[in-house]
């Protein structure tokens, strides 16, 4: 057993940390207010190979591990949670769909390599208005026509949707078959009939672009079908297992970011003649929060380790996602409290972090759905 990061991982963590501090931090408040996605910064960070960290080099990846990827998502999320999810969806939901699929290697490479260094952006279309927690309730349909498929339907809440060059669209071949007929395609931006619908106006992660995607007689070549009919649901679930580790890392990062702001503030802010950090009530609270952050960290690192080592990770990923995101919500809420009135003001960051934290408990399976996953294997 070894709890130490490798020299390589420490170095990678440092690079991500410096990028977050030097590039993401300036302007993060303004971006939150204007809801503008920092395309240039996203591309710049991409040059490090960050988005391809968990993928093998033969597919254009950076040849690292899931653990490496977790460290990078954690670091950027300490400063900018919205950047964290755009990254995470790009890598683990879009990239993960491609890598986990049974598509031929050439197709995998074709659709994975362009995103790993940030030249192209990916998104993941599973959720529909009628299919949220119950992803099987889909109505988008793909019908075979010659060597193409024609897709009709609509997706909603697509992170990176308006930006994406490639989107994995999950759809049914025959509604009567339900998930037994679920398949998945890579649909390219600009394909006739494929359009961006309503762009959501959100509580948090405001710079992440989340939208509806409409599909009206969208013709896609058969080779872009990455999951054959009947394989789509499994692909989506497997990919979400990996995605949840990414969201867990995002939650952990947000919690750590808010914790550090509160910690420094408490040493400076004086009331009743001494720094508020000297109030044992507050100091104990911080001790509890730090302990929770550490336990969350252990859970997400372990889930990533299990994935990297070929062990079953569905349940560890669900547990990590639930733990880290609950810790994110608790720590950010308490951080606002620690800063008092200032905590409620935008320039102190923690109110944004609190708004960002909330979504982590909802997407990629709400925390109730994580309990469904965990309890599902308990009483089999």
């Amino acid at each position: 057993m070894n709890f130490e990061l490798t020299q390589e991982q420490l170095q990678l963590q440092q690079v991500a940390r410096e990028f977050a501090q030097n590039k993401l931090l300036p302007g993060v408040i303004e971006r939150d207010e204007t809801s503008v996605f920092p395309v240039d910064l996203f591309k710049e960070f991409g040059k490090t190979g960050a988005y391809g960290l968990p993928f093998p080099e033969e597919f254009g990846g950076a040849g690292g591990s899931y653990m490496d990827y977790v460290l990078a998502v954690e670091e950027v999320s300490k400063v900018d949670g919205a950047f964290g999810i755009s990254y995470s969806v790009d890598t683990s939901l879009y990239g993960g769909s491609i890598m986990n699929s049974s598509a031929p290697d050439a197709i995998k490479k074709k659709f994975l390599a362009p995103i790993t260094y940030g030249e192209k952006i990916g998104s993941f279309g599973l959720t529909e208005h009628s299919a949220g927690s119950d992803a099987a309730g889909q109505t988008t349909v793909a019908v075979k026509k010659g060597d193409k498929y024609v897709i009709n339907g609509a997706k909603c809440f697509n992170t990176n949707g308006p930006l994406a060059d490639f989107t994995v669209i999950y759809s049914l071949t025959d509604p009567a078959l339900g998930t037994k007929g679920m398949c998945a395609f890579v649909v390219e931006k600009g394909t006739p009939g494929f359009t961006v619908g309503k762009i959501e106006n959100k509580m948090g992660i405001r710079t992440a672009q989340v939208s509806e995607l409409h599909l009206e007689n969208v013709e896609v070549p058969e080779e872009q079908m990455i999951a054959k009919p009947g394989e789509g649901f499994k692909l989506a679930m497997k990919t979400l297992d990996g995605g949840r580790i990414g969201v867990a890392a995002q939650g952990l990062g947000i919690a750590e970011g808010a914790f550090e702001i509160a910690r420094t503030y408490m040493m400076q802010r004086e009331q009743f003649g001494k720094p508020i950090a000297k109030q044992q009530y507050l100091a104990f609270k911080m001790a509890e929060l730090q302990t929770k952050i550490e336990s969350a960290r252990m859970m997400v690192y372990r889930a990533a380790w299990m994935k990297d080592n070929g062990k079953p990770y569905t349940v560890p990923a669900a547990m990590a996602k639930m733990t880290c995101t609950n810790v994110a919500m608790e720590v950010t809420t308490e951080a606002v409290q620690m800063l008092g009135g200032n905590g409620y003001m935008k320039e102190y960051h923690v109110e944004r972090m609190m708004r960002d934290a909330k979504i982590t408990q909802i997407y990629e399976g709400t925390n109730e759905i994580q309990k469904l996953v965990i309890s599902g294997q308990l009483f089999r």
């Binding site: 020299q7 390589e8 170095q11 690079v15 190979g49 040849g63 690292g64």
Partner: protein
């Protein structure tokens, strides 16, 4: 083209808090690459961007732990790394002489260096004279305070934008050259993650020093401590003999001299 970049592993002094008179111990301090040496490497890499045939070699003197800074150099884009084995304190003269010897050895193996770049100073000892000494020992032209370098013309020369107190000075030079780099006019690149992995697996070449008498330290390190602060200015009016004694005693009292 060959470029040798000298990189030093320094203590990260950002969290160092010493009281007046308190002795410095490196305990608990992280080590990092001297930030000015990162500028030196970045400058070298901009030449490599222009001419991809360029071989960038990083050189660091120190014990095994200094390899960490060479790995960082390789991660950013250097092609080869050499560590000049050394431990314990060496003064700047000895350091420069040993580096010069190592540079000769590297040049034997890799070919002449067209450019040697160092950071303008280190953030720990801060002497800022290694580049000057190398220039003297190796008899090569020195250009200090470079904020930007680039190849120009055919046959190529090096254009250097030098940071001066009131602005910048642009000059053109033939090779070989020694340059000291200061804060650059452009950003330092982030290493890519695949390069980080390759760097951690790369071979670090070790050079054992063969120090001549001249390359031994002529200064002995006794202790490093934060000077005590005098709250008032003192003017000593006594004659030279007596005045010197008084000054010496005051410096001893403030822990600047210990014997």
């Amino acid at each position: 083209m060959n470029i040798i970049v000298c990189m030093k592993q320094v203590y990260d002094l950002k969290d160092l808090k010493l009281k007046a008179g308190e002795e410095f111990t490196p305990q608990g301090l992280d080590r990092r690459v001297n930030p000015f040496d990162v500028f030196a490497l970045e400058a070298a890499l901009t030449v490599k961007d222009q001419n991809p045939q360029t071989k960038v070699i990083v050189l660091s003197m120190g014990a095994e732990h200094t390899e960490k800074c060479l790995i960082e150099g390789l991660s950013m884009g250097a092609d080869k790394a050499y560590r000049l084995n050394s431990s314990g304190f060496l003064d700047t003269v000895a350091t420069s002489r040993r580096l010069a010897q190592a540079i000769h050895k590297i040049e034997k193996a890799e070919g002449m260096a067209d450019i040697i770049i160092t950071g303008i100073q280190s953030t720990d000892s801060g002497n800022g004279i290694v580049a000057c000494m190398l220039s003297r020992i190796l008899s090569r032209t020195l250009v200090s305070s470079a904020a930007e370098i680039s190849l120009t013309g055919n046959p190529s020369k090096l254009e250097i934008v030098k940071r001066c107190p009131d602005g910048f000075e642009k000059t053109e030079h033939d090779f070989p050259l020694i340059i000291s780099a200061t804060k650059l006019n452009h950003e330092v690149r982030y290493p890519s993650f695949p390069r980080i992995r390759q760097a951690n697996q790369a071979k670090i070449n070790i050079i054992e020093p063969s120090p001549s008498k001249k390359a031994m330290s002529s200064t002995e390190l006794i202790r490093i401590a934060k000077p005590g602060r005098r709250s008032r200015n003192v003017i000593v009016n006594d004659d030279v003999q007596a005045g010197t004694q008084i000054l010496l005693r005051m410096l001893q009292e403030d822990n600047i001299f210990t014997r």
